[in-house]
Each structure stands twice: as C-alpha cells, then as structure tokens.
C-alpha cells in the first residue's frame, strides 16, 4: 500500500459509453496505490476491436480488459417490442447472448493470453410496459437477465483469469433510480449515474486487487460493544447484549457474518481489553455466541495497548501488519492504532450496532474480496487455533505517550453534588474491575458522606478529543485519624483504564489533602475475583505497604514529602463549588 504507485492498464469495451467512467476508475485505483492507464473503444465499436487482431485494443496490451455490456443492448429487440414470444424463446435468446459473450472473451484471450478479462451480470429496468402482465401472459423481460446471468457462471467456470463483476447486484443494492441517470443517458449515452460509476469502480478495483492477490488476510476484533453489547467484566455473561431477538440480535447477526467471512479464508483474531477469563467464559458458554474459541486463529485479551497487541498477533500469525483490518467500537482505540500502525486498516465504525452487519459487508467487499475459495481457506481459523503457540514479545512502549498527548484528555474533578450523586452511587454499584475496595453505596449513603466534614466525595468527569465520557471515576476520602485520610473508595470505569487517569486522580487528591493540612494518605486494596487489574495501583504510585487487615492490603503515602505525578497529558480542571448537597 505504500511506496510508488503500481502500474496497471485497463481497456474498456462497452455497448454504451464509458467515457465519463474513465476518470472515476483511475481515481479509485489511485486511492489504493495504483497508477491506472486506460484506453476506451469508440462508442459501440467493441465487436470490431475484438475481431481485428491489429486493433487499438490489442496494440494497447492491457493488463485488464473490461467487457461491459448492458442488458438494454443485449436484449434491445425485446425491449423495443416486449409483446412477443414466450418463455422458451426468451431462454434461447439469453443463452445465445451468453454464447456471444463467451466467443468475444475467447477472441480476446487468443490475443491477450495473460490479461484479466472481466464480464458482468446484467439487469433490465425493473419497471416497464409489461409490469403487471409479466407473470400473467406469455410475455416477459425479467427472465432474460436472470437466464443470461446464470449462463455467465458456466462461461467463466474453470477459467481463473475470466471473472464476473456482479453489476446487477450492485445496481439492485443502490436502487435502479439511483443507478440510472436519464440525463447522462440522453446527453452522453452513459447508463450510469455518478454514484453508480463510483460503485462500479469500487467493485472493479476490489476484483482486480483480489486477482492480483492484494487483499487483506486478517480481521482483528474488539470484544465489548463490538462482538456483544455491554462490558463482560461488568455485566457478566448473563448481562451482555447478545440474543436471538431484539437489540441482541444485531450482535448475533454480526457474528454470523463474521463466521461466513472466516469460511472464505479470512483469519479472525481478538484484540481486546478485558480479563481473559471473563471473555473466554462468554465465548465458550453464551448460548447466542456464533463464534467460539476455535473461530479465532489468535487472541490478545489483556490490558495492554492494542497497537502492541496487534504487532504480536502479526508475529504470531506470521503475516504482515498490512494484512490486518482492525474493528473496534471505541474511537480512541481506533485512533491509537491508526497513529501507531498506519499499515493496519482501521475503518470508521457505526455507533448503532444495528448497522454493524451492513458495515462488515461493505468492509469485506473492499478489503476481503475473494474470487476463489479453497478447502484450506474454509479451515484456516481452526487450523491456526489448533497449532497456536504462545509468542510473547517484549512490550515496547514506543509512541504511547504521543498517543495519550493526542487524546487531549481533560479531567474535571468535582465535589459530589445533587447532579452527580446518582451517577456516583451507580458507579459504586456497577464497577467491578478497576475498583479498589468494591464498597457498594446507595444515593443516600453518598449524600451522607458528602455532608460530613471529615469526608470528601470526588467525581471525575473525563473528556477527550473524541467524546465526552461523562463521570467515569469516584473517590471517597475520609479522615480516620487526625490528619490521616483513608481512601474509602476509588474506582474508574473500565473504558478509561490504561491512560494514566488513575495517576491524575490520586495526584489531585494528594494535593487537595495537602491543602487541608493533612499528613498522610492511606490506600486500601481488597481483592475480589474481578479487580486483579488494580492490585498494584498503590505500589506503582509509590505508596508503601503497611500491613493487611482481613485480606485487604493497606498502603501509606506521606503526602508532605512524596508526590504522585499527574501525567503531563491530562489537564485537570478545578473543583467546582458543590450544588446543594445534603
């Protein structure tokens, strides 16, 4: 994809004119790093060009010949007088047209033994004089195109350098009224609108790249809110959105489409921030999962940065990063990967899971186009899974700081007020992973804390370049002894973990306590099945361990002499005055 553009030459032969299409095709190829040269036969001159060995077509020696024929031209007689004939006559007519196309392709092949020749399926205008009569009389038009298209499959069978571009499907996807531009037909004998030409160019470029072997090999996927709705570490396998009905059906259908893609030989991999056991539990046991553990050739499920994980996946699968496409619902993760690994294609992704399946089909059409499928393709993921060996690479921090800088994070830390108290209580109820003590509080509890002179309830509201994350952090401090404050509760929503927000939060609290004349800050970590992720927080922040009580480790920081660094990439906005607490 990088470096100087690769040359490719196209000859365009058509029963209508493709003069306008020429520049659209060149622009499309350029987008993929190809410098396309084009040559076009004169209007309706394609038969002469094919028949004459000394023609301009053969002198041009193209890499690719596009023989673009319109149904309106192949079946012009039937359109001119549709009130004639019967089903059998139309079938003969369609088969004859297919034989004509077959002989033209053979004539081109004789002169250009190595060129790729692309034929196309045809359509006829869906509404016409026989509409209403079509199935109630001997007459008809619809079966002409259907029969011809069916015959094309026979024409190209066993010929790897003869492909069919499914123009009829593209037209039907866009809709005939968007596809056909009557103005361009009348002024220029062109049967495609601007939108149709762009679509045709995309399809052709995908076919040509697939034929050249220039397609991507691996689709790496995030898990939470990508393969299923919700967060597995918070909601549990029963709580995630993945079902046979309703909103969960969007994820089930998305997974089914991924399974189809894998049968075409696309390697699936997981690149996700979760506790691996939580994720695997859902993948192994959720009844609506369409993908299981052996659907994935490799996985990196951990809390490290995704660019590093993708590099490791590439090494483990022994394919280049330029063979990867990465899908993640989180724009910040997408941005990290795009910045660190420009070779990986990271598509924009719809916010509405209802659109995931359609987005995947579009993506597959452009990046995973396949013109042949082998038995090995169908088994590839299971094969990788079976042979998987753990490949561990040293984590290289590299440009992570640049990435954090680029997020432009702003943390607004505020005393609890009547607006934030419901959310604060909810976070104490829901947060399992980055939660140091996992104490569950009601709104009334939080309100009580906030009203006490020896307690401080802080909320952290995070914004970055991409989005407003809302309140994602809570800290409750209480003065247990004179000038010694304990961190009763410290939690962060898992969508902001791993960006240094926790350092900023504790650093801020330290300064706040210092301002109140405090001497020390006591942290506490009470292990649960889910919060292993936060086990080393106080140690990493420079606290010293002072013992254990009932399985909970206690940590101490003398705040007058030791400071917790607030990362330079997070801007802290000052505490607001509380709005009627109590």
């Amino acid at each position: 994809m990088t470096g100087s553009p690769r040359p490719v030459s196209f000859a365009l032969l058509s029963s209508s004119t493709l003069q306008l299409f020429d520049s659209v095709l060149r622009k499309e190829m350029q987008r993929w790093g190809w410098a396309a040269k084009t040559w076009e036969a004169g209007f309706n001159q394609f038969r002469q060009e094919i028949a004459n060995p000394a023609s301009g077509l053969y002198a041009f020696r193209p890499d690719v010949v596009i023989l673009h024929l319109d149904g309106e031209d192949l079946f012009a007689e039937w359109l001119r007088n549709p009130f004639q004939g019967n089903r059998e006559r139309r079938r003969e007519s369609a088969q004859q047209a297919a034989r004509d196309v077959e002989s033209w392709a053979a004539a081109i092949r004789a002169e250009l033994p190595r060129a790729l020749i692309i034929l196309n399926t045809v359509y006829l205008p869906p509404v016409h004089a026989l509409t209403g009569l079509e199935y109630h009389s001997p007459w008809g038009l619809g079966d002409l195109a259907a029969e011809f298209n069916c015959e094309l499959g026979r024409v190209v069978a066993g010929k790897p350098d003869l492909l069919v571009n499914d123009v009829a499907a593209a037209m039907s996807d866009l809709g005939y009224r968007q596809w056909f531009d009557a103005r361009l037909w009348r002024l220029a004998r062109c049967r495609m609108s601007n939108a149709a030409m762009k679509r045709l160019a995309r399809n052709l470029s995908a076919l040509v790249r697939a034929w050249k072997g220039q397609t991507r090999k691996c689709l790496a996927l995030d898990l939470d809110n990508t393969l299923w709705g919700g967060i597995i570490g918070e909601d549990g396998p029963q709580g995630i959105v993945l079902a046979e009905e309703g909103p969960g059906l969007a994820f089930t259908e998305f997974q089914e489409e991924l399974a189809h893609l894998s049968r075409k030989g696309v390697i699936l991999a997981i690149c996700s921030k979760n506790n691996e056991e939580d994720a695997l539990e859902a993948i192994r046991s959720h009844p609506s999962m369409r993908l299981r553990e052996d659907s994935f050739a490799a996985r990196r499920i951990n809390w490290r940065d995704k660019a590093q994980n993708l590099k490791e996946l590439a090494a483990e699968l022994n394919i280049g990063l330029d063979s990867f496409v990465f899908v993640d619902d989180n724009p910040a993760e997408r941005s990290l990967v795009r910045m660190s690994l420009p070779e990986v294609h990271v598509p924009e992704w719809p916010e509405d899971p209802g659109e995931y399946k359609a987005a995947l089909l579009d993506l597959a059409g452009e990046y995973f186009c396949r013109v042949a499928v082998t038995a090995e393709d169908r088994e590839r993921n299971a094969m990788y899974h079976a042979e998987r060996g753990r490949v561990s690479l040293a984590a290289a921090a590299g440009s992570l700081t640049d990435y954090y800088q680029s997020l432009q994070m702003r943390a607004q830390i505020a005393l609890a007020d009547s607006f934030s108290i419901p959310r604060i209580a909810q976070l104490t109820q829901k947060t399992n992973q980055f939660n140091l003590t996992t104490r569950r509080y009601t709104e009334a509890d939080i309100r009580a804390f906030a009203g006490q002179p020896d307690a401080i309830v802080l909320s952290l509201h995070l914004r970055d370049r991409f989005s407003d994350q809302g309140i994602v952090g809570v800290m409750i401090l209480s003065e247990r002894q004179e000038d010694a404050w304990s961190v009763d509760t410290l939690l962060l929503s898992c969508r902001v973990i791993g960006r240094g927000v926790e350092n900023a939060f504790v650093g801020f609290a330290q300064q706040l306590l210092l301002g109140r004349g405090a001497r020390e800050m006591i942290g506490e970590y009470a292990p649960t099945k889910k919060n292993g992720l936060a086990a080393n927080l106080y140690k990493d922040l420079g606290f010293e361990q002072i013992g254990e009580e009932l399985g909970a480790a206690r940590w101490r920081l003398p705040i007058r002499t030791m400071a917790v660094q607030i990362p330079e990439w997070i801007t802290i906005e000052p505490v607001k005055e509380p709005v009627h607490v109590g």
């Binding site: 003069q19 306008l20 103005r183 361009l184 002024l187 220029a188 062109c190 601007n194």
Partner: protein, 78 residues
C-alpha cells in the same frame, strides 16, 4: 461572486489553480473543457453543491458565469 465550491470543481476537473478560474472561464478558453470534460465538470459541481441540473440546462452551462447563475437560481428556488 463565485461560489468557492464551483471554483474548486473547475480547478480540480481541468487541472488549474483556483486563481486561474474566473467568471469568463469557458469552453472557449479552456482546452480540457471538451464534451466529456463538460459532463465531468457538471457532475463535480452537482456533487459539491448538492444541486441537480436538468437535461436541457446542462448543454447551456458552458461558462463559469453561466454555472454560477444556475446555482444562484437553484438556491432561490429552495
């Protein structure tokens, strides 16, 4: 006043710089503005400005000034 989107469309279709595009630019004085170039330009202007010209109108729009007048008219009829 020329619509900047029109100027950019003319410049990009015919490979000119924006400064070279004036109301007087026309099929008469731009070599690349042939019959194919004309339709490419019309499609580019339609794309950029979100308008659609009629079959009868398209062959008449052979200068930048004429396209600008058609854009003004389309805007008024909204």
């Amino acid at each position: 006043m020329l619509d900047s989107r029109l100027v950019e469309a003319v410049a990009s279709v015919f490979g000119l710089s924006n400064d070279e595009v004036t109301p007087e630019s026309s099929q008469e004085n731009i070599a690349e503005w042939d019959s194919v170039g004309h339709l490419n330009l019309i499609l580019a202007v339609e794309d950029a400005c979100g308008v659609q010209f009629s079959t009868a109108q398209i062959p008449e729009l052979t200068s930048v000034a004429a396209i600008q007048r058609a854009l003004d008219k389309a805007k008024h009829s909204l």
